[in-house]
């Protein structure tokens, strides 16, 4: 075999392997979605949205878990995102490249990929131990801590994309930075910041580990923020690992609901970002 042939064969071999790798990745996604849809749909029924989580052996739904997840996610994002947006504003508009900003940026990136169970332990130590009991508010705080890094990162990136000319014009009119930020930068970066919020909601609404020992779970309907609250991820965890068929079916239905919600959120974030880029490219 000539050297040329050997090189050609090696080339095709590795390129084929790379194609195989891609097909494997796509097959995993396909298999995952297929199982979710087929198992999830068979467990799906009107009861899911109208009845509470049942005791083993009887029929029921996921209403209290759905409500709890909505409340926890909403509270988490309400507490976390203002902090993330403000901190991102500081990094982009005030701190810039100071030593403090560089450090905060670094720490934020570390928090962004820190294991969520660690955040759960942290909130357990500072909230649950102090209060002496598990509570919905502790769960919401854990989710808020997870939402901060996501919103911070996107806010900073999006504010940096606002054309300098707009900022300068505002300053030239005699506006203080706070006025420029509130009246010029935030409106200009609005869809970018909303993207960050959507991504943060997508991130925290499927989190299970930090809720295990903060919000815990509750088999009943509860709106008390100072008591344990049911939530979809923890219910899925408990029901899927149970030996009862009814519970496992509910777990699959819950898994389908959660995944569809999160995929829709991520896709809308992506669409929003694409629209933003199109506007940037064409408009100004």
């Amino acid at each position: 075999m000539s050297r040329r042939q050997r090189r050609k064969i090696k080339n095709s071999a590795f390129l084929t392997l790379s194609l195989v790798a891609t097909l494997t990745g796509l097959a995993c996604l396909g298999a995952l979605l297929w199982t979710l849809v087929s198992h999830g749909l068979s467990g799906m029924s009107g009861r899911i949205f109208t009845q509470m989580t049942p005791p083993p052996g009887s029929q029921g739904g996921l209403l209290n878990a759905l409500y709890g997840s909505a409340v926890l996610t909403l509270l988490g994002i309400l507490i976390g995102s203002p902090i993330g947006v403000l901190a991102g504003t500081y990094l982009s508009e005030y701190g810039r490249n100071s030593r403090l900003s560089t450090m905060i940026r670094f720490i934020n990136d570390v928090l962004l990929s820190a294991p969520s169970i660690i955040i759960g332990l942290f909130i357990y130590e500072i909230v649950v131990v102090r209060l002496g009991h598990f509570s919905a508010i502790a769960g919401a705080l854990a989710l808020a801590v997870l939402a901060i890094p996501v919103t911070l990162r996107t806010t900073e990136d999006m504010l940096r994309l606002v054309p300098v000319g707009m900022k300068d014009s505002s300053a030239a009119l005699g506006a203080y930075p706070w006025r420029t930020i509130l009246s010029v930068l935030y409106p200009a970066a609005r869809s970018g910041i909303v993207t960050g919020l959507l991504l943060a909601i997508a991130r925290i609404s499927g989190e299970t580990a930090p809720l295990l020992f903060t919000a815990l779970n509750n088999q009943f309907w509860s709106t008390n923020l100072n008591a344990p609250m049911a939530n979809l991820p923890v219910v899925i965890f408990q029901f899927a690992l149970s030996p009862y068929k009814d519970w496992q079916n509910l777990a699959w239905a819950g898994a389908l609901i959660i995944t569809v919600t999160i995929l829709l959120l991520s896709i809308s974030a992506r669409v929003l970002l694409a629209l933003l880029q199109a506007e940037r490219g064409g408009g100004r």
């Binding site: 090189r7 090696k10 080339n11 390129l15 790379s18 194609l19 790798a21 891609t22 990745g25 996604l29 298999a31 995952l32 979710l36 198992h39 203002p82 902090i83 403000l86 901190a87 504003t89 005030y94 701190g95 900003s101 905060i104 720490i107 570390v110 928090l111 990929s113 820190a114 294991p115 969520s116 169970i117 660690i118 332990l121 942290f122 130590e125 131990v129 901060i148 911070l152 990136d157 203080y176 706070w178 006025r179 609404s205 499927g206 299970t208 580990a209 295990l212 020992f213 991820p233 899925i236 965890f237 899927a240 690992l241 777990a251 898994a255 959660i258 995944t259 999160i262 991520s266 992506r270």
Partner: protein
Amino acid sequence: MAIIDPGHAAKQLIYERIFRGATLSAAILVLLILGGVAVSLLRGAWPALSHFGFSFIAREIWNPVTDEYGALAPIYGTVVTSLIAMLLAVPTGFGIALFLTELCPPLLKRPIGVAVELLAAVPSIIFGIWGLFVLAPVLQRHVQPWLIANLGQLPGVGHLFKGPPYGIGILTAGVVLAIMVLPFIAATMRDVFDTVPPMLKESGYGLGATTWEVIWNVVVPHSRVGMVGGIMLGLGRALGETMAVTFVIGNAHRISTSLLAPGTTISSSIANEFTEAVGDLYTSSLIALGLLLFLITFSVIAAAQAMLRRLERRTGVTV
């Protein structure tokens, strides 16, 4: 008529101070959170650490009845499952990144890229139940018997594939982790490959190199720092991943030489046992496990970030 009202300017200055103060405090809060995590874990872990001393990380025993705890089995499980995940995910992720940057028809580039990124958005608990109900039975029926029959007898590596095919265990956890971190590794590597100047690649082709030769001799050396950064970011995820592993690891506090046997990891021990832990020493030992995980992942992620930052300064591209 005064053009500038002094009262107005003073008020503006106050607003400015307030707003700036608010943004600064939010930014400082991020630092405080990380500090708070470290301090509260250390405080929670202190009873266990002072009771067991250094032997905590060197002993395999985990016995709630006699109240004796050692972290060696969870540490072993964490490290081994993550290694398996990396062994599987790094070459596959490299292949996907290659395909997307060098081979893919432009029409498919975006859809496949988005599909890979969507895989990254799927929450870990979904991978967990999929791993338990779909992947574990498949591995148990088709893959593990083959491994036992064909690799179990080999000298050297044979003991890794001994024992009955449980389905759940260290190997299955590693495979689920691999599928979970694959999108991160593939997406980071793709972004890093995209930073290679086309001029360099075209010079390679101009010299008559094949696609693979250009990739191996031009793209890879140019992207080395970013690739390692991306791999370590994936490793950080794998080490700390909780729910996906908890479903399929089997939760057995022992170190077994076979990869097919059930085991445990730091995060799955905490997830499985924390709410049921009775006694201060038990809870404290679990928090001490959390502290260990924090230290391990913090160093891995920090190193990864430092590498990606070095790349960013060199190329001006944020990965």
